[in-house]
Protein backbone atom coordinates (compact mmCIF):
# COMPACT_ATOMS: atom_id res chain seq x y z
CA UNK A 1 0.00 0.00 0.00
CA UNK A 2 1.54 3.29 -1.05
CA UNK A 3 -1.30 5.75 -0.80
CA UNK A 4 -0.34 9.44 -0.77
CA UNK A 5 -0.50 10.99 2.69
CA UNK A 6 -3.82 12.55 3.66
CA UNK A 7 -3.64 16.32 3.97
CA UNK A 8 -5.87 19.34 4.21
CA UNK A 9 -7.18 19.12 0.58
CA UNK A 10 -8.53 15.61 1.19
CA UNK A 11 -10.48 16.72 4.25
CA UNK A 12 -11.81 19.84 2.53
CA UNK A 13 -12.82 17.66 -0.41
CA UNK A 14 -14.73 15.29 1.86
CA UNK A 15 -16.36 18.29 3.52
CA UNK A 16 -17.40 19.62 0.10
CA UNK A 17 -18.85 16.25 -0.92
CA UNK A 18 -20.92 16.05 2.28
CA UNK A 19 -22.07 19.65 1.80
CA UNK A 20 -23.24 18.93 -1.75
CA UNK A 21 -25.06 15.75 -0.66
CA UNK A 22 -26.86 17.77 2.02
CA UNK A 23 -27.71 20.51 -0.45
CA UNK A 24 -29.17 17.98 -2.89
CA UNK A 25 -31.22 16.60 -0.01
CA UNK A 26 -32.60 20.05 0.88
CA UNK A 27 -33.49 20.71 -2.75
CA UNK A 28 -35.05 17.36 -3.66
CA UNK A 29 -36.76 15.97 -0.55
CA UNK A 30 -40.32 17.09 0.10
CA UNK A 31 -40.85 15.89 3.65
CA UNK A 32 -40.07 18.80 5.99
CA UNK A 33 -38.42 16.50 8.54
CA UNK A 34 -36.01 15.17 5.91
CA UNK A 35 -35.19 18.71 4.79
CA UNK A 36 -34.18 19.47 8.41
CA UNK A 37 -32.11 16.27 8.42
CA UNK A 38 -30.26 17.34 5.28
CA UNK A 39 -29.57 20.72 6.92
CA UNK A 40 -27.82 18.84 9.73
CA UNK A 41 -25.66 17.18 7.08
CA UNK A 42 -24.66 20.61 5.72
CA UNK A 43 -23.77 21.90 9.20
CA UNK A 44 -21.65 18.80 9.85
CA UNK A 45 -19.77 19.30 6.58
CA UNK A 46 -18.89 22.82 7.76
CA UNK A 47 -17.81 21.39 11.14
CA UNK A 48 -15.41 19.01 9.42
CA UNK A 49 -13.83 21.90 7.49
CA UNK A 50 -13.43 23.90 10.73
CA UNK A 51 -11.71 21.02 12.53
CA UNK A 52 -9.46 20.29 9.54
CA UNK A 53 -8.27 23.92 9.39
CA UNK A 54 -7.86 23.98 13.17
CA UNK A 55 -5.55 20.95 12.93
CA UNK A 56 -3.63 22.30 9.96
CA UNK A 57 -2.85 25.65 11.56
CA UNK A 58 -2.49 24.56 15.17
CA UNK A 59 -5.21 26.98 16.27
CA UNK A 60 -8.00 25.98 18.65
CA UNK A 61 -10.40 28.71 17.47
CA UNK A 62 -11.77 26.38 14.78
CA UNK A 63 -12.88 23.90 17.42
CA UNK A 64 -14.56 26.68 19.43
CA UNK A 65 -16.47 27.59 16.27
CA UNK A 66 -17.64 23.96 15.94
CA UNK A 67 -18.95 24.24 19.49
CA UNK A 68 -21.02 27.30 18.51
CA UNK A 69 -22.26 25.63 15.32
CA UNK A 70 -23.52 22.75 17.44
CA UNK A 71 -25.35 25.14 19.79
CA UNK A 72 -27.02 26.88 16.85
CA UNK A 73 -27.94 23.50 15.34
CA UNK A 74 -29.51 22.38 18.62
CA UNK A 75 -31.60 25.57 18.86
CA UNK A 76 -32.59 25.30 15.19
CA UNK A 77 -33.65 21.66 15.56
CA UNK A 78 -35.72 22.41 18.68
CA UNK A 79 -37.75 25.13 17.00
CA UNK A 80 -37.81 23.40 13.61
CA UNK A 81 -39.19 20.15 15.00
CA UNK A 82 -41.77 22.02 17.09
CA UNK A 83 -42.95 23.72 13.89
CA UNK A 84 -42.99 20.34 12.11
CA UNK A 85 -45.21 18.78 14.79
CA UNK A 86 -47.48 21.84 14.73
CA UNK A 87 -47.77 21.71 10.93
CA UNK A 88 -48.71 18.05 10.93
CA UNK A 89 -51.33 18.78 13.62
CA UNK A 90 -52.82 21.81 11.84
CA UNK A 91 -52.44 20.85 8.19
CA UNK A 92 -52.28 17.06 8.50
CA UNK A 93 -49.41 16.77 6.05
CA UNK A 94 -45.70 17.39 5.90
CA UNK A 95 -45.19 17.81 2.16
CA UNK A 96 -43.34 21.07 1.54
CA UNK A 97 -44.67 21.26 -2.03
CA UNK A 98 -48.28 21.32 -0.86
CA UNK A 99 -47.84 24.16 1.62
CA UNK A 100 -48.73 27.26 -0.28
CA UNK A 101 -50.93 29.10 2.19
CA UNK A 102 -48.81 32.21 1.84
CA UNK A 103 -49.05 32.13 -1.94
CA UNK A 104 -52.05 33.42 -3.85
Amino acid sequence: MSLPPVGLPHLIGLSGILFVIGLVGVLTRRNILLILLSLELILNAANLAFVAFSRAHGDLSGQIMVFFVMIVAAAEVTVGLAITVLLSRLAGKLNADEMRNLKW
Partner: protein, 162 residues
Protein backbone atom coordinates in the same frame (compact mmCIF):
# COMPACT_ATOMS: atom_id res chain seq x y z
CA UNK B 1 -2.06 13.99 9.41
CA UNK B 2 -4.32 10.91 9.27
CA UNK B 3 -3.32 7.41 8.23
CA UNK B 4 -4.56 7.01 4.60
CA UNK B 5 -6.20 3.61 5.19
CA UNK B 6 -8.21 4.99 8.12
CA UNK B 7 -9.17 8.14 6.21
CA UNK B 8 -10.38 6.35 3.06
CA UNK B 9 -12.31 3.67 4.97
CA UNK B 10 -14.07 6.15 7.24
CA UNK B 11 -14.79 8.70 4.53
CA UNK B 12 -16.22 6.02 2.21
CA UNK B 13 -18.53 4.90 5.04
CA UNK B 14 -19.48 8.51 5.80
CA UNK B 15 -20.27 9.41 2.19
CA UNK B 16 -22.27 6.19 1.73
CA UNK B 17 -24.33 6.94 4.85
CA UNK B 18 -24.81 10.55 3.73
CA UNK B 19 -26.21 9.23 0.44
CA UNK B 20 -28.44 6.99 2.55
CA UNK B 21 -29.80 10.07 4.36
CA UNK B 22 -31.04 11.67 1.14
CA UNK B 23 -32.00 8.48 -0.72
CA UNK B 24 -33.84 6.53 1.99
CA UNK B 25 -37.56 6.47 1.36
CA UNK B 26 -38.48 5.78 4.98
CA UNK B 27 -37.66 8.68 7.34
CA UNK B 28 -36.48 6.32 10.10
CA UNK B 29 -33.73 4.90 7.86
CA UNK B 30 -32.66 8.44 6.97
CA UNK B 31 -32.29 9.36 10.65
CA UNK B 32 -30.33 6.18 11.41
CA UNK B 33 -28.04 6.84 8.42
CA UNK B 34 -27.33 10.29 9.83
CA UNK B 35 -26.23 8.61 13.08
CA UNK B 36 -23.66 6.67 11.02
CA UNK B 37 -22.49 9.92 9.37
CA UNK B 38 -22.00 11.50 12.79
CA UNK B 39 -20.01 8.53 14.08
CA UNK B 40 -17.79 8.64 10.96
CA UNK B 41 -17.14 12.35 11.41
CA UNK B 42 -16.43 11.76 15.08
CA UNK B 43 -13.79 9.19 14.11
CA UNK B 44 -12.17 11.75 11.82
CA UNK B 45 -12.23 14.33 14.64
CA UNK B 46 -10.37 11.90 16.92
CA UNK B 47 -7.82 11.31 14.14
CA UNK B 48 -7.43 15.11 13.89
CA UNK B 49 -6.75 15.32 17.65
CA UNK B 50 -10.01 17.21 18.32
CA UNK B 51 -11.03 15.00 21.21
CA UNK B 52 -13.45 17.40 22.89
CA UNK B 53 -15.30 18.05 19.64
CA UNK B 54 -15.47 14.31 18.94
CA UNK B 55 -16.98 13.70 22.37
CA UNK B 56 -19.65 16.39 22.11
CA UNK B 57 -20.38 15.23 18.57
CA UNK B 58 -21.45 11.87 20.01
CA UNK B 59 -23.08 13.18 23.19
CA UNK B 60 -24.91 16.22 21.82
CA UNK B 61 -25.57 15.28 18.19
CA UNK B 62 -26.02 11.52 18.17
CA UNK B 63 -27.30 11.49 21.73
CA UNK B 64 -29.67 14.43 21.92
CA UNK B 65 -30.46 15.99 18.54
CA UNK B 66 -31.03 12.73 16.68
CA UNK B 67 -33.09 11.26 19.52
CA UNK B 68 -35.32 14.32 19.14
CA UNK B 69 -35.61 13.53 15.42
CA UNK B 70 -36.45 9.90 16.22
CA UNK B 71 -39.15 11.03 18.67
CA UNK B 72 -40.80 13.16 15.99
CA UNK B 73 -40.56 10.40 13.36
CA UNK B 74 -42.23 7.96 15.76
CA UNK B 75 -44.81 10.55 16.83
CA UNK B 76 -45.96 11.55 13.37
CA UNK B 77 -46.27 8.16 11.66
CA UNK B 78 -45.01 9.17 8.24
CA UNK B 79 -45.47 7.05 5.15
CA UNK B 80 -42.51 6.48 2.81
CA UNK B 81 -42.18 9.21 0.25
CA UNK B 82 -41.52 8.76 -3.45
CA UNK B 83 -38.18 10.15 -4.58
CA UNK B 84 -38.19 13.16 -6.84
CA UNK B 85 -37.81 12.47 -10.54
CA UNK B 86 -36.50 15.12 -12.87
CA UNK B 87 -38.87 15.52 -15.79
CA UNK B 88 -37.61 18.85 -17.05
CA UNK B 89 -34.53 18.07 -19.17
CA UNK B 90 -33.48 21.74 -19.45
CA UNK B 91 -33.46 22.22 -15.69
CA UNK B 92 -31.51 18.99 -15.28
CA UNK B 93 -28.89 20.23 -17.77
CA UNK B 94 -28.62 23.57 -15.97
CA UNK B 95 -28.27 21.75 -12.65
CA UNK B 96 -25.48 19.52 -13.93
CA UNK B 97 -23.74 22.59 -15.39
CA UNK B 98 -23.85 24.43 -12.06
CA UNK B 99 -22.72 21.27 -10.25
CA UNK B 100 -19.66 20.99 -12.49
CA UNK B 101 -18.97 24.71 -11.96
CA UNK B 102 -19.09 24.21 -8.19
CA UNK B 103 -16.78 21.19 -8.48
CA UNK B 104 -14.30 23.29 -10.47
CA UNK B 105 -14.42 26.04 -7.84
CA UNK B 106 -13.82 23.47 -5.11
CA UNK B 107 -10.81 22.03 -6.96
CA UNK B 108 -9.39 25.54 -7.47
CA UNK B 109 -9.81 26.36 -3.76
CA UNK B 110 -8.26 23.03 -2.72
CA UNK B 111 -5.27 23.75 -4.96
CA UNK B 112 -4.82 27.29 -3.61
CA UNK B 113 -5.00 26.34 0.08
CA UNK B 114 -2.15 27.77 2.15
CA UNK B 115 0.28 25.14 3.32
CA UNK B 116 -0.36 23.70 6.75
CA UNK B 117 1.85 25.29 9.38
CA UNK B 118 2.09 21.98 11.17
CA UNK B 119 2.16 23.61 14.60
CA UNK B 120 1.11 21.10 17.24
CA UNK B 121 -2.32 21.66 18.73
CA UNK B 122 -2.54 22.42 22.44
CA UNK B 123 -5.63 20.30 21.94
CA UNK B 124 -6.85 19.46 25.40
CA UNK B 125 -10.27 20.10 26.81
CA UNK B 126 -8.69 22.39 29.41
CA UNK B 127 -7.21 24.62 26.68
CA UNK B 128 -10.60 24.85 24.93
CA UNK B 129 -12.32 25.71 28.20
CA UNK B 130 -9.81 28.45 28.93
CA UNK B 131 -10.28 29.93 25.45
CA UNK B 132 -14.06 29.72 25.80
CA UNK B 133 -14.10 31.72 29.04
CA UNK B 134 -11.54 34.36 28.03
CA UNK B 135 -11.39 35.20 24.33
CA UNK B 136 -14.83 33.85 23.42
CA UNK B 137 -16.71 34.76 26.60
CA UNK B 138 -19.16 37.12 24.88
CA UNK B 139 -20.17 34.71 22.06
CA UNK B 140 -20.53 32.02 24.75
CA UNK B 141 -23.04 34.15 26.69
CA UNK B 142 -24.85 35.02 23.45
CA UNK B 143 -25.11 31.29 22.70
CA UNK B 144 -26.80 30.69 26.05
CA UNK B 145 -29.29 33.44 25.18
CA UNK B 146 -29.93 31.72 21.84
CA UNK B 147 -30.64 28.43 23.60
CA UNK B 148 -33.06 30.22 25.95
CA UNK B 149 -34.87 31.67 22.93
CA UNK B 150 -35.00 28.16 21.43
CA UNK B 151 -36.54 26.70 24.59
CA UNK B 152 -39.15 29.47 24.86
CA UNK B 153 -39.95 29.14 21.15
CA UNK B 154 -40.49 25.39 21.45
CA UNK B 155 -42.76 25.81 24.49
CA UNK B 156 -44.83 28.54 22.83
CA UNK B 157 -45.20 26.46 19.65
CA UNK B 158 -46.11 23.30 21.54
CA UNK B 159 -48.93 24.93 23.53
CA UNK B 160 -52.42 23.84 22.53
CA UNK B 161 -53.78 27.35 22.16
CA UNK B 162 -51.52 30.09 20.88
Amino acid sequence: MIHPALFYTVSALTVASALGVILARRPIYAVLSLVLVLFGLSTLFVALHAFFVAAIQIVVYAGAVLVLFLFVVMLLDMEPEALLRARNKTMMGVGILFGLFFLGQLAAVAKALPAATGKPLPGTTAAIGKLLFTTYALPFEAASLLLLVGIIGAIVLAKKKL
